[in-house]
């Protein structure tokens, strides 16, 4: 819509993720069905397109980083998502494991990753931030958290 240049005051997630005219696409990963529905709604309310995944392997598949995607690692998945938000505690591949895999990928490593958890464990938080997570957020998420997420993404861009 429009020239996609100056988004005066509307502070939509779109302008903050340098997407120009495009609606930002967020991949939300959580093994809990209620939390998936909640995060999806929260992000949609902030004008994002949302894809949800119920675990790490499915998320990686969606990003084109799955086990069967080795041959496609350089093709077309770069602009697939603008943000990945993932729960920490998931069976099998944790959010931390997923974060590591994303940061190891030459294609996906620039995509900001946000970790969510219901538990406020400093060592866990530091571990994630050190591995390159953009932010750590405490569940349950609220609309004010999504606003804070937007602000943080603006300020942290170098």
């Amino acid at each position: 819509m429009g020239s996609g240049g100056f988004s005066s005051g509307s502070s939509s997630m779109a302008s903050l993720m340098e997407n120009g005219d495009h609606v930002p696409h967020v991949l939300a990963v959580d093994d809990n069905i209620i939390d998936r529905k909640l995060i999806e709604k929260l992000l949609q309310k902030s004008s994002c397109k949302v894809t949800t995944a119920e675990n790490g392997p499915r998320a990686l598949e969606f990003l084109g980083l799955g086990d069967h995607d080795r041959l496609n690692s350089l093709e077309g998945n770069i602009s697939k998502v603008n943000l990945i938000i993932t729960d920490y505690c998931m069976p099998g591949m944790t959010g931390y494991d997923l974060l590591k895999k994303i940061k190891e990928s030459s294609v996906m490593k620039e995509v900001p990753v946000v970790i969510m958890s219901s538990e406020n464990v400093p060592t866990r938080i530091n571990k994630c931030l050190e591995e390159g997570a953009q932010m750590f957020m405490l569940k349950p998420l609220k609309q004010s958290d999504i606003k804070r997420l937007r602000c943080h993404l603006v300020n942290s861009r170098g």
Binding site: I34, K37, K41, K139
Partner: protein, 154 residues
Amino acid sequence: MAGSGLVLQLQKQLGDYTTSLFNEGFLDDQFNQLQQLQDESNPDFVVEVVSLFFEDSDRLLNELAKALNYQNTDFRKVDAHVHQLKGSSSSIGAQRVQRVCIAFRNHCEAQNIEGCLNCLQQVKQEYTLVKNKLETLFKLERQLLAARRSSFPM
């Protein structure tokens, strides 16, 4: 009673009932968050999320009943289920259910079977209570909606 009188009465009933649920600790602010996310594009959002919660909780309580016994309880598996229940009850604002889950997890960590069995009883009770309360709340909302529609025919 005249249409608009009924609407006012139902509005008051709904308001008072909702307030009581917060005052008695059945619901916390997270439930408000859910209500704020509901809009014309998704007018049944709260009912949808809460229905998911009911389905998921029924499943988890079932799993917990099967997993807890005096012979060979796998406490890690029990804890995983309680963690899920704690998460989803927290996400919808079912405060009393969430609180019991916290105690429940402590018993899992201590591998205390009696403690776990007690907590299972408690969490079932709290879940049943909040489920009934929420179903009543939704019923009042439907009655109010119906009364509004019939007193202001388009």
